[in-house]
């Protein structure tokens, strides 16, 4: 469990990036910090692995104040995935993935073997192992970045807008990969994004931030959607534009299906007949609980 | 300092000659590097060739080039032309990289939109490419200017070094102050040239000032 206690960060040039921030991040769940630029979300993330140190307040991981832990040692035990992958361009894919194990003294053959297994885990073809990052597509590079973050099997994985730089189709694939990985591995993931839809998709808990790291609302996606706490949140999630209010339209689909539109009139999907049964005949999906959330991705 | 007042005429005369003998190569270097740089930024093979050729020229130590130039040009050794041509070649060699970078720095999107708006190739060059490449060209030109002014003094060894005469003369007479005066006046000329270039830049490229400092 990660805990922020009254954390503030003022940068040397005077900007107050984070102002008295407190939060408990539960273990083995995906917590998403979401907000627009300047909300301090990336700063908060980077405080967890001490890339940034707070000017006041403490951060504890599993009860230990990380200010007392040597930063290099700390970082080697936490996975970190960034936008644009940040791969070392002069090292092969397999060496990139094996970076941290090699740093901690794992012999090369062992590290490489584990790297190949990780490539399978993130859905990368093993034939790419000997290539250089410059020869890979954006989506492939991001997968390498994720594999690299998982290489030492850390408990905590930090992801800083990792899918911001790839195109929407690839992004969707990668998001599904994260859901699948979390179902398999159950890590403590702290995920930063400015995309509320991504937050709702991936987050077991979502924390909406305003400038200076002020928490406007936090909760499960359902809680936030059902009851946005103020106009800022409503606007941020699109409620004010009618995006989140769905109505069955007059247009019909197959069988009892009706086209679903939002309050703005934009088509969103198809709703099954009010009988509550999916076309396949099975009952409607279980309501979302933390461990079951990712199962929904596999449902129709 | 007494010496300076007594010989002010000499020093100023040398300074004037120094300014003249270095200004011409700077201008030639700039003027020649524009078409060469533009062409080289368009055609990759030409770029490699030009950079190699001028790279070789640049590698040759200046004294060697000064000595050999009369042979190549068919002039007498005390001709101004030797020094001017040699320094011009160096100036082009130095400017070429900058010119290629400068024209390369013009965003292809801007060029395309200029064509789409209706600019013909020639007017597009003068009104779009050249001005936009301007800041990089200017920055490199300032380097070339300073280097050329400094380089000229070597030519004192063949008798055409402008203020460089004060170096050899001061050395022969074991008179360090004379050398210092030579250095100071050389720096002054370089500074004046630089100020002129900066002012020209402000005049001709007003937008680049807001874009941030280049150096």
């Amino acid at each position: 469990m990660i805990e922020f206690r009254s954390v503030s960060k003022r940068f040397p040039d005077g900007t107050l990036a984070v102002d008295d921030f407190s939060l408990q991040i539960p273990a083995r769940q995906v917590t998403v910090l979401v907000g627009s630029s300047g909300s301090g979300k990336t700063t908060l993330l980077r405080m967890i692995n001490r890339m940034v140190d707070p000017t006041s307040g403490t951060i504890e991981i599993d009860g230990h104040d990380i200010a007392g832990v040597e930063p290099v040692r700390l970082r080697r035990s936490i996975g970190y995935v960034m936008q644009n992958s940040g791969l070392l361009p002069h090292r092969r894919v397999i060496d990139n993935i094996a970076t941290v194990p090699r740093l901690t003294g794992v012999p090369r053959p062992v590290a490489h073997q584990r790297a190949r297994e990780l490539m399978d885990t993130v859905g990368l073809d093993r034939s790419l192992a000997e290539r250089y990052p410059g020869q890979l597509s954006g989506g492939q590079q991001q997968r390498v970045g994720v594999a690299r973050g998982l290489a030492v099997d850390p408990n905590i994985l930090l992801m800083d807008e990792p899918f911001g730089a790839v195109d929407p189709i690839v992004r969707s694939d990668l998001q599904q990969e994260v859901l699948r990985l979390q179902r398999e591995l159950a890590k403590t993931i702290v995920f930063v994004t400015h995309d509320i839809d991504e937050a709702f998709l991936l987050g077991d808990r979502v924390v909406i931030l305003e400038s200076g790291g002020h928490i406007v609302q936090q909760g499960t996606p359902e809680e936030i959607l059902a009851a946005p706490v103020n106009d800022f949140v409503a606007s941020f999630i699109g409620s004010d534009r009618g995006k989140r209010r769905l109505i069955a339209s007059e247009r019909r689909g197959r069988g009892d299906d009706r086209v679903l539109i939002d309050a703005g009139g934009y088509p969103v999907g198809v709703i099954s007949a009010p009988g509550g049964k999916l076309a396949s005949g099975s009952a409607s999906p279980r309501s979302r609980s933390i461990s079951n959330k990712t199962d929904q991705a596999g449902d129709a | 300092m007494v010496w300076l007042w007594n010989n002010l005429g000499l020093v100023l005369g040398l300074a004037a000659e120094h300014a003249r003998l270095s200004a011409i190569p700077i201008l030639v270097g700039f003027a020649a590097s524009i078409p060469l740089g533009w062409v080289a930024s368009r055609f990759a093979w030409l770029r490699g060739l030009l950079l190699t050729v001028f790279g070789i020229v640049f590698t040759i130590p200046s004294l060697a080039l000064f000595v050999v130039m009369p042979l190549l040009l068919g002039t007498r050794i005390l001709d101004d032309l030797n020094v001017i041509v040699a320094l011009s070649l160096y100036a082009i060699a130095m400017m070429l990289r900058g010119a290629i970078d400068g024209f390369g720095s013009v965003s292809p999107d801007v060029l395309q939109s200029a064509t789409a708006v209706g600019f013909a190739a020639a007017s597009r060059f003068w009104t779009v490419q050249l001005p936009l490449a301007g800041p990089v060209l200017l920055a490199n030109l300032r380097v070339v200017s300073v280097s050329t002014v400094s380089l000229l003094s070597v030519a004192a060894l063949i008798g055409k070094g402008g203020l460089g005469y004060l170096f050899t003369n001061g050395y022969q007479r074991a008179f360090p102050e004379e050398i210092v005066i030579g250095i100071v006046f050389t720096l002054l000329i370089a500074a004046v040239f630089d100020i002129v270039l900066v002012l020209l830049g402000r005049l001709l490229l007003p937008w680049s000032r807001r874009a941030g400092r280049a150096a």
């Binding site: 980077r46 692995n49 290099v72 040692r73 970082r75 080697r76 960034m82 936008q83 644009n84 992958s85 940040g86 791969l87 070392l88 361009p89 002069h90 970076t99 941290v100 740093l103 410059g134 | 640049f58 590698t59 040759i60 130590p61 200046s62 004294l63 060697a64 080039l65 000595v67 050999v68 042979l71 990289r97 900058g98 970078d101 920055a139 490199n140 300073v146 280097s147 002014v149 400094s150 380089l151 003094s153 070597v154 060894l157 203020l163 460089g164 170096f167 050899t168 001061g170 050395y171 074991a174 360090p176 050398i179 210092v180 030579g182 250095i183 720096l187 370089a190 941030g212 400092r213 150096a215």
Partner: protein
Amino acid sequence: MNFFADAFAYILDPAHWAGDPGIAQRIADHLLYTGLSVGIAILIAVPLGLLIGHTGRGRSFVIGLTSAARALPTFGFLLFIVLLAGLGLAPLIAVLVVLAVPPLLAGVYAGIEAVDRQPVDAARALGMSEWQILGRVEIPLGLPLMLGGLRSATLQVIATATVAGYVAQGGLGRYLIEGLARRDYTLAVVGAVLVAALALAIDGLLAVAQKLVQPRGVSRGRARPASTRERRSSRVPAIIRTPTTEGNL
């Protein structure tokens, strides 16, 4: 063109190679001056450049130093120092070192500075120590530009060592100086040809070295991918980034 023919005849005559001073001796002198001063300059400039490049502090110092060095008439500076310190190897080497440090420093600094910040940041986040980042990421990626600085510095030194023939007893510059003094134009051309050949040869070797240290997987001239978010400092001007625009003597 007669002089060229005579000069080549002179050079090809083995008798002129042996002896003191012969061609071989003078080439050796020149190489000694160059190697010694560049070597010392490396000891000074490389640690300093790595420090400034890695921490990002002191870049205006580098820029200022480079500009000042470019403006200083090296010939005058050389004569001045020799007048004060006397003829001898030490003052000569000292002057050459002073002239070699700025371009070398600029090259090392530019090499580190040009490395994309993202892999560096990622390396730090993964848990590399600062030394490891320097050694495994910044130096390998910055090596080509650093060698560019070395090329520039070496050229500067070779050229100044040539001109130093005016005050020194050794080096290929003596052919030029003596030739000019005695109006023996052939001799001067001999010097010109030899020193040009030496400079081209050494520069050629360094150019090959520069190609060899280009890290695999990174294309030439790009130590960074297309996206350039998160730049730590503003762009280094091209003049410093491509140190071959340093004035040479």
